[in-house]
């Protein structure tokens, strides 16, 4: 087991930067999920850890050992590939023993280890079988077993569940996480699925276009997304984003939404004082999650006119889509009878549920929790 450290690691293919300098650290025994859309560089990052790619610049450490120039076969990592990459001509047993044989492990130890891991994954009865006889889920377990059997320093998984059907995927998700809790092997898990990231990770690293967008616990990332990209990536339906400008009139800051500048929204001083000085000269983005919208007018909250167009009942709750002056808005709520289609209602969002973003990258403007704000105001 090991701590994995990236220091300003870059990767270029030809003249194309796949990874901008990346620096991050995965703690010993941590379950670290790298999530992002396709082309975000998450798989490349994983392959750099495995040694299947070499960085163009920068350093990679396992604990205190610098490994970035080590070839893959010396790194002692276990990897689960998206398509499982099981050796098609070998029995399940040979698939699992192959790595141990390469390490010149004594024969009886190999048999012991394979049996042990096969028991752990409940695939003992599959050991004599050929991969051709296995189902997708069984192949997945064999791929896990093959990577685990050597007790690697780092366990790497590249979208391991994406080839399974939905039900099996949910099941394996839980099982992989339980397995990690038992074995405590440092795990780096790559996925494009926000649910997998949220449910499995100790910490998540969100990537987009070869850059780290945010690193944090699932709760942190959901509650305090550092960019619009992260904000929209997690949560379903995704966060509503409204762009606009701030203007100050009669000592009150007003938010003029870009889609209807003629209906500005006054900002309470608790919010406006915390926005940076230059907010008036830039586009500002206001974000709020569908579940933070309250389907009735509230006092001391951000309120707007909403016309629902589709109401989807999911049993436990409803998802309603509509628009605020032709700007699309989604919200989730409990009772389906709250809305009439095409009938304007007023919605509100408590100021504490509003996220503010600015700049080209859509970075978060840190607005502390209203509770903290109140305390600051009270203490002179």
């Amino acid at each position: 087991m090991a701590r994995v450290t990236f220091r300003r690691v870059m990767k270029t293919f030809g003249s194309h930067d796949v990874l901008s300098p990346l620096s991050f650290e995965v703690a010993d025994g941590e379950f670290f999920v790298i999530v992002g859309p396709s082309g975000s560089g998450k798989s490349t990052t994983l392959r750099l850890v495995a040694g299947l790619e070499r960085p163009s610049q920068g350093e990679i450490y396992f604990d205190t050992e610098r490994v970035d120039q080590w070839p893959a076969h010396t790194r002692d990592v276990g990897m689960v590939f998206q398509n499982y990459a099981i050796y098609p001509h070998m029995s399940v047993y040979s698939n699992m023993s192959f790595g141990l044989e390469a390490q010149r492990t004594p024969k009886h130890t190999i048999a012991q280890r394979v049996q042990q891991v096969a028991a752990l994954l409940e695939i003992e009865q599959l050991l004599p079988k050929r991969p051709g006889e296995l189902s997708g889920g069984q192949k997945q377990r064999v791929a896990l077993g093959r990577a685990l059997v050597r007790n690697p320093r780092v366990f790497l998984m590249d979208e391991p569940l994406s080839n399974l059907d939905a039900q099996l995927r949910d099941h394996m998700r839980t099982e992989i996480r339980l397995l990690h809790d038992r074995l405590k092997i440092t795990t780096i898990y790559v996925t494009h699925d926000q649910t997998e990231a949220m449910t499995m990770a100790d910490r998540i690293m969100v990537m987009d276009q070869g850059r780290i967008q945010q690193i944090g616990t699932p709760a942190e990332i959901y509650a305090h997304p550092s960019t619009i990209f992260v904000a929209k990536f997690f949560g379903s339906p995704s966060m509503n984003i409204v762009s606009g400008r701030i203007a100050v009139d009669k000592n009150v800051a007003w938010f003029h939404p870009a889609h209807s500048p003629e209906t500005p929204i006054p900002l309470p001083t608790s919010v406006s004082t915390l926005l940076p000085e230059d907010s008036t000269s830039h586009t500002i983005y206001m974000g709020f999650r569908p579940e933070d919208i309250v389907p009735k007018p509230l006092t001391n909250a951000f309120a707007f006119a909403f016309v629902p167009t589709t109401i989807e009942s999911l049993g436990s709750h409803c998802q309603t889509h509509g628009h605020w002056h032709h700007h699309p808005i989604s919200l989730t709520h409990r009772t389906p009878e709250s809305f009439q289609r095409h009938q304007e209602t007023r919605l509100s969002v408590p100021w504490s549920g509003i996220h503010w973003f600015a700049g080209e990258a859509g970075s978060r403007i840190t607005v502390p929790d209203p509770d903290d704000v109140r305390q600051e105001v009270l203490t002179p």
């Binding site: 040694g51 076969h73 990897m79 990459a85 390490q103």
Partner: protein, 324 residues
């Protein structure tokens, strides 16, 4: 046994109107005629120039047949027994066997080695240029390139002896030596055919999923272990194909034997018949001595030998080759 109750439903298909099913047959007939019509041109070429002569050959192998005589007489197996009493026939079989046993493994192993060197991701060797270079000899006509090799093997002025001299090895008479004439032809054949088999092996290597090799690398395996446990077993089908193809090709080798050691006058096939292979003997018997029946009998024997060898190879392949 209880008779099964006959339901009304089960009798229904029989009560279908007949004309309907006949019209399906007509459609099928039209398809069949159309299909055969499409393959007719190539079928005709095959029948006239391949199957026809092959059947005729099998026929005259059991007759005393001459292009000059209007009548042929059935002689049973006499042509075959005559052959068995000819030392030159046995020598040609031995020469062919020597040639096949040397050329097939040499070409296969060399092609495999080259393919491993030239495969994707092998740095500067892995380019299309090196592949083209290796494949090039195969597309050149044997008659044309063997002239160059006649010069290479020339004992006085040839390149081969220059190379030997450079390594302080005594010169050889190559094509003019009883011991070296056939090996010289073998060297030429390997040079001429290795490109084809290299390309086949390259295709085989390309069909192995990259992730399987990456899995082997992360499993800590490298070099010989990866070759022995992953590449070699997964290349099985291609290796089998290459061996079968090389065996058939070498057993039928004629052109280079003729041009390198036969000479334009239909010469003997090397000093002391040392390069007289089956094909050369068949050619000489038929077109030099005009014993067509004997030559046909020989061709039939060669055909049976090739078929037998291929069946044995297939038997091995079915047991030891892994097919995905």
């Amino acid at each position: 046994m209880m008779p099964r109750p006959v339901s009304i439903d089960s009798s229904q298909p029989d009560s279908r109107p007949k004309p309907h099913s006949r019209s399906v047959t007509r459609q099928q007939l039209r398809d069949t005629v159309w299909g055969y019509g499409l393959i007719l041109p190539s079928l005709l070429v095959f029948l006239i120039f391949f199957y026809g002569p092959a059947l005729f050959l099998a026929y005259i192998a059991f007759f005393h047949w001459s292009i000059f005589a209007s009548q042929s007489t059935f002689v049973g197996l006499k042509n075959f027994t005559t052959l068995l009493h000819q030392p030159i026939f046995w020598q040609s079989l031995l020469n062919t066997a020597y040639y096949v046993v040397a050329v097939v493994p040499a070409t296969t192993l060399l092609a495999l080695a080259l393919a491993l060197l030239l495969r994707e991701g092998m740095g500067r060797f892995g380019g299309g240029f090196s592949r083209a270079l290796i494949f090039l000899p195969h597309v050149t006509p044997v008659v044309a390139t063997s002239i160059i090799w006649v010069w290479i093997f020339n004992p006085q002025f040839g390149l081969a002896n220059v190379v030997l001299h450079f390594f302080h090895v005594p010169p050889s008479n190559w094509l003019e030596s009883v011991h070296w004439a056939l090996p010289s032809v073998m060297i030429y054949t390997v040079w001429h055919s290795v490109g084809l088999y290299t390309i086949l092996f390259l295709a085989g290597l390309a069909s192995i999923p990259r992730s399987v090799l990456e899995a082997a690398a992360t499993d800590g395996a490298r070099g010989w272990r990866v070759f022995k446990r992953i590449l070699w077993p997964l290349l099985g089908p291609i290796t089998f194909f290459v061996i079968v193809l090389a065996t058939i090709n070498t057993m039928q080798t004629f052109s280079q034997v003729y041009t390198l050691t036969g000479g334009p006058h239909g010469g003997a096939g090397g000093p002391a018949f040392s390069t007289t292979t089956d094909s050369l003997l068949i050619y000489q018997t038929a077109f030099l001595y005009l014993h067509f029946s004997l030559a046909s009998a020989m061709s039939l024997i060669l055909f049976v030998l090739i078929l037998g060898l291929t069946l044995i190879q297939k038997w091995f392949a079915d047991r030891f080759v892994f097919y995905r």
